[in-house]
């Protein structure tokens, strides 16, 4: 059973993707909430320079040295960005956009210059090759386990441990840094630890999904979850679920269409995001449009009862308080008048009575409708406060 799992290429490819997704979602949730999502972009690009530098210094392209190097690279990137920002000469996002392209460009040049010795293709750094993670394995308890998966699993456990251990501190530091400082939690240290872990995760992931696709895994599932809930614990869990589902469905589609697997997984995170953006139950565009329409109808129904109240008990009530008058007097199109009527009828604010003889039905306020109209009218507000 275990043999079969580790020997199965699809299982290894999938688990690599899922581990990247889960790690990214865990850290990304806090980064998205703090408004630091684009620091992920900076770190994941700058990490290329880190990888080459560590290779130049130690000759290792992966393993613990690279992971340690990633911590340094990530923190150096953030420190440089903050230093440039602190001069007060440029905005934060300009500082980000100045530092990481320079580091990335330097990294690319170093790769170019050492192309003969360095078995690192720039394309591979950017895009990764998740389909080949199974090639490079080590023996763990007698099982050949892919190195990339092992590193990703370790990094995931570290991330999970960090988030669980510092849950309360992270929560306060994310939503109220001032309170966190007052309580002695050192939100700055926590934030930098978060960014250091992001760097480590980026290096562990780059073989599988590459530096740039990694950004999609870190930011998109948390952004999707953010649209669905306002509770932090739910957000993190939903983000992880979205990431895992994206990897599963992305893998299946990539195999079916014969396209890049890691990229397809990342595209699926986008599909979930767009789906949520459009059809999300609370904040989705459809829900928003429906809410807006209902509000408009509600306001129309109030206009309607004000109209009825104005003409009630007047000689022209028989003409004015009819549906036809809504079209002719208020200038409402037929559909709008019908919707307002239905809304007022459903709300128990008005009644419809058959007109005298061949006349059209007349509209009458119920007691509730009359009270409502009185409460709304500027002169009646003091006399009869709204119930």
């Amino acid at each position: 059973m275990i043999d079969a799992f580790f020997a199965s290429i699809p299982a290894m490819v999938l688990s690599a993707g899922v581990l990247v997704g889960l790690s990214g979602a865990l850290l990304g949730s806090f980064l998205v909430l703090r408004g630091a999502a684009m620091l992920t972009d900076a770190i994941s690009h700058a990490i290329v320079l880190g990888i080459v530098t560590v290779w130049l210094l130690t000759g290792h392209l992966s393993g613990p040295v690279q992971l340690a190097g990633a911590v340094v690279t990530g923190l150096v990137t953030v420190a440089l960005t903050q230093a440039v920002h602190r001069t007060g000469l440029v905005r934060m996002e300009t500082a980000i956009g100045l530092i990481f392209p320079a580091m990335f460009a330097l990294g690319v040049l170093l790769i170019n210059l050492n192309a003969r010795n360095l078995h690192l293709d720039v394309d591979a750094v950017l895009l990764g090759e998740i389909a080949f993670v199974w090639i490079d394995t080590v023996q763990v308890f007698g099982q050949p386990v892919p190195v990339a998966n092992l590193a990703l699993a370790a990094v995931f456990l570290i991330n999970l441990g960090f988030v669980l251990l510092f849950w309360k501190e992270l929560k306060i530091a994310t939503f109220d840094p001032a309170l966190a400082t007052a309580l002695g939690f050192a939100p700055g240290v926590l934030f930098h630890a978060l960014l250091a872990l992001t760097s480590v995760t980026a290096v562990a992931s780059f073989e599988a999904v590459g530096a740039i696709l990694f950004i999609a895994f870190v930011i998109t599932p948390p952004a999707t979850a953010f649209l669905l809930t306002r509770v932090l614990s739910r957000m993190v869990l939903i983000a992880m679920a979205v990431a895992a589902l994206s990897c599963l469905s992305g893998y299946a589609l990539a195999v079916w269409w014969d396209v890049n697997i890691g990229a397809m997984m990342a595209v699926m995170t986008g599909v979930f995001f767009v789906g949520t953006l459009i059809a999300g139950p609370k904040d989705g565009l459809i829900a928003g449009a429906v809410r807006k329409r209902n509000e408009a109808r509600h306001i129309d129904s109030l206009t309607l009862i004000m109209h009825l109240a104005a003409h009630e008990h007047t000689a022209r009530a028989g003409d004015e308080n009819t549906r036809a008058a809504l079209t002719s007097d208020l200038g409402w199109p037929d559909a709008r008048a019908r919707a307002a009527l239905r809304s007022a009828l459903d709300g128990g604010l008005i009644l419809r009575q058959p007109g005298a003889g061949a006349g059209q039905p007349t509209l009458h306020l119920t007691d509730a409708g009359r009270a409502r109209a009185r409460a709304l009218s500027p002169t009646g507000r003091n006399a009869a406060p709204a119930k």
Partner: protein, 375 residues
Amino acid sequence: MGALLSSQIVQTVVLGAALLGLISGALGAFAVLRGQSLLGDAVSHAALPGIALGFLIAGGRDLGAILTGAAISGGLAALAVMAITARTRLKPDAALGVVLGVSFALGVVLLSHVQGRSGASSAGLSSFLFGQAAATLRSDLWIMGTLAAIALGIITLLWKEAKLVSFDPDYARALGLPVTRVQGMLTVMVALAIVAGLQMVGVVLMVALLIAPAAAARQWARSLAGMVILSMSFAVASGVIGALISASARGLATGPVIVLVATGIVALSMAFAPERGLIWRAIAQRARVRRLSSDRVLGTIHALARDHDNPDYPAELGMLQAEHSSATVPALTSLSARGLVREISHPPETTPHWQLTEKGRARADALNRGEATDD
């Protein structure tokens, strides 16, 4: 250098880099001023799916089709970022990250599809990741020239609107300008700049050519026109110098070298720009500290004179040093150079003494009234 410049390829690359600089410098200035520095990053990564689609539709590596595709997908990405920011609670940086990551992934999916279909012939597509300046053709220059003309033409035509919308959108709205449309246009034009740089610098690094020259120009310029012109000059200089450096050495890709040159220009600007630059500020700060310490010494001599009811009271150096320690001598040197104090001897004592001049008294009185100005 002469041999370098006479090479056809180098000429083409340098010209192309210069044209690219004109576009990215001008549009980058607006992007940076409007706080949209990183939008360029999202837009440039989002050009990738357009490149792949352009390739698929044209059935080959046709630059016109590829750039059109890139402009469309980049423009759509810019609008998507605007829409997500406006319609959801997500912060702008999350919107940028989502659009950047997902559209780049879509581009990679499409590229892998293209490569799976047509094999080696499409290998050139990945050159758009980092640009391949040497592959620039004479005919490509016409495309870039046209893009430059369009970008500069639109900016010139809409100069006043763009200026107002960039600095004070609320006021512009109150004046009845179509603010959202102008903003949308400036945003979409970032895609134009990105597209111009795809061949030369590539999607990954193009953002630097948008931001760096503008950020550098911001340090020197005092007006929008000055900033745009400087930004264009810096961008052209980065492009030309970068292209020449990369042509003169083997294995130096053009895009990264151009980016590093541009970054160097920013670093120099942030250090040396008058009034804003770090070195300028450090010098000004030192001058302020000096002025303050000499004013304090002046105040002490003045106070001693007042306490002794003698306007010409000779203050002994050691007494001043007791109060102002090592700052005393430099302060006295500077004060006497400005003609505010004079050194006198006060026999039988042998140590130097200092006395206020007429001018020094006037300044000390003004300081006490809080009216002193930097003379």
